[in-house]
């Protein structure tokens, strides 16, 4: 199984029924594919819809209905159109139950950096700072290392997205929960040992007893 599929499948299990969920562009958007059929959630696209649906059949696209990446989507029954003030009001106001975002770095404090590499990549933060500051649960979905180098660090050296401890980090190698005491290793990924994870991670990991294997298929 590809790293991205492992991550998306594992994150999908975190989603509670009847919640409002925002999925970032790229890897996070794959999470929707692995949600069990019986779990009903509303997906928010921050550009202005609650109740984001699948891509429409060819020829049935509406130029006024896209996701935050600009791709054509549909709206599920019961959807609502909202303007940007309402969209970010919901995010900042704590009405968004979960956001799943990509990451460049996360550190021992649970702080995320995911919006710029000074002198190299300055795309702008878009909605990321509001999402990390405001969502009830922030899940970082990312591959564990970048070109062999750890992305989970003692302290981020890239500019932070927010001074807020994220809720969970999910990689293909591990599920890690940032806590007040530091990063707790909760699960290890397929084919990885605890030692593998520790050596691919710069940050100190707290290992409590036996660490279970990541389960990739929902039990339902």
């Amino acid at each position: 199984m590809e790293a991205k599929e492992i991550i998306a499948r594992r994150v999908a299990q975190e989603i509670e029924p009847d919640t409002l969920v925002n999925l970032g562009i790229g890897l996070p958007s794959m999470v929707a594919n692995y949600l069990p059929k019986e779990v009903h959630v509303f997906f928010q696209a921050e550009n202005g819809v609650i109740g984001l649906g699948a891509r429409p059949p060819e020829g049935m696209e509406d130029p006024d209905l896209t996701d935050a990446g600009g791709g054509f989507v549909t709206a599920v029954p019961g959807a609502a159109s909202i303007d940007s003030a309402m969209s970010f009001g919901l995010i900042r106001g704590g009405h968004l139950d979960m956001t799943v975002l990509g990451g460049l770095q996360v550190d021992e404090r649970g702080y995320l950096a995911n919006w710029m590499i000074p002198g190299k990549m300055v795309p702008g933060m878009g909605g990321a700072m509001d999402l990390v500051a405001g969502a009830k649960h922030v899940i970082v979905a990312m591959v564990h290392t970048a070109r062999g180098k750890p992305k989970i660090l003692r302290e981020c050296n890239l500019p932070l997205t927010a001074r807020r401890r994220v809720s969970l980090i999910v990689t293909e190698m591990a599920v890690i929960e940032p806590t007040e005491d530091g990063l707790v290793l909760k699960e290890v990924g397929p084919g990885a040992s605890v030692d593998d994870v520790i050596s691919a991670t710069e940050a100190k990991l707290i290992v409590q007893g036996d660490v279970p294997k990541m389960s990739l298929f929902s039990e339902s």
Binding site: N47, D83, S87, F88, M125, G127, D130
Partner: protein, 220 residues
């Protein structure tokens, strides 16, 4: 009652050096005919406030290419490499603002508030040089209002009072920007007689709209 005007006539109203609030999210819900007319007229030294600069050849991206802009205030420019190049070369000055903060700063201007107090951006680069205000023991960034000389609004349907309706994710920044431009120019897809739009469907009251573009030509 408002006489609908041509895009070229509307562009004549805009002096060099103006600050324009322009609706749209990656070109969706942007006033494309107005943007084309601005490029045609070759207005210079413009500041554009918008969520993003779309991509080269589309929407606000055309203003970037044409050299009309000297300053951009946006949340995201990552999908327009030309904006990034011109930022690095110093041809365009870019201020990056978190998306939720951007829309709320524009709203504050429109509704007569002195700024906003937001948790977004605290502890990040966005904080630099800004007042921090403490309310009930919690810190907030004070972000100042953003006014426009003009607001250029894309709408789904208008009546000849100037009342506006929007469609799906083409709402985005439009209803908020319509509050904050000294002069508001609306570009609807269609215009219907006064009385056809239910009062409950109006999202921008016509009293906010100064000029109405004639309806989208049907191409016949």
């Amino acid at each position: 009652m408002k006489q609908a005007i041509k895009a070229a006539e509307a562009a004549e109203l805009i002096p060099d050096g103006s600050t324009l609030l322009i609706g749209g999210f990656m070109g969706i819900g942007s006033p494309h005919r107005l943007i084309n007319a601005i490029v045609d007229r070759g207005i210079s030294n413009l500041t554009v406030v918008a969520n993003d600069t779309a991509m080269p050849g589309r929407g606000i991206g055309k203003l970037v290419t044409s050299g009309c802009l000297t300053r951009v205030v946006a949340s995201h420019i990552g999908l327009n490499p030309e904006t990034q190049q011109k930022m690095i070369s110093g041809e365009i000055d870019v201020e990056l603002v978190p998306q939720g903060t951007l829309v709320e700063r524009i709203r504050a201007a429109g509704v007569g508030l002195g700024g906003i107090l937001t948790p977004t951006g605290l502890g990040t680069l966005v904080e630099e040089g800004k007042q921090i205000v403490t309310v009930s023991g919690r810190d907030f960034l004070l972000e100042e209002p953003i006014h426009g000389d003009f607001a250029l609004i894309a709408a789904h349907q208008a009546d000849y009072v100037g009342n506006l309706e929007y469609s799906l994710t083409a709402h985005n920044f439009n209803p908020i920007m319509a509050l904050a431009g000294k002069t508001v120019i609306a570009e609807p897809q269609t215009i219907v007689p006064i009385g056809v739009i239910s009062p409950d469907s109006v999202k921008t009251p016509g009293i906010l709209v100064d000029h109405l573009l004639e309806r989208q030509p049907d191409g016949s």
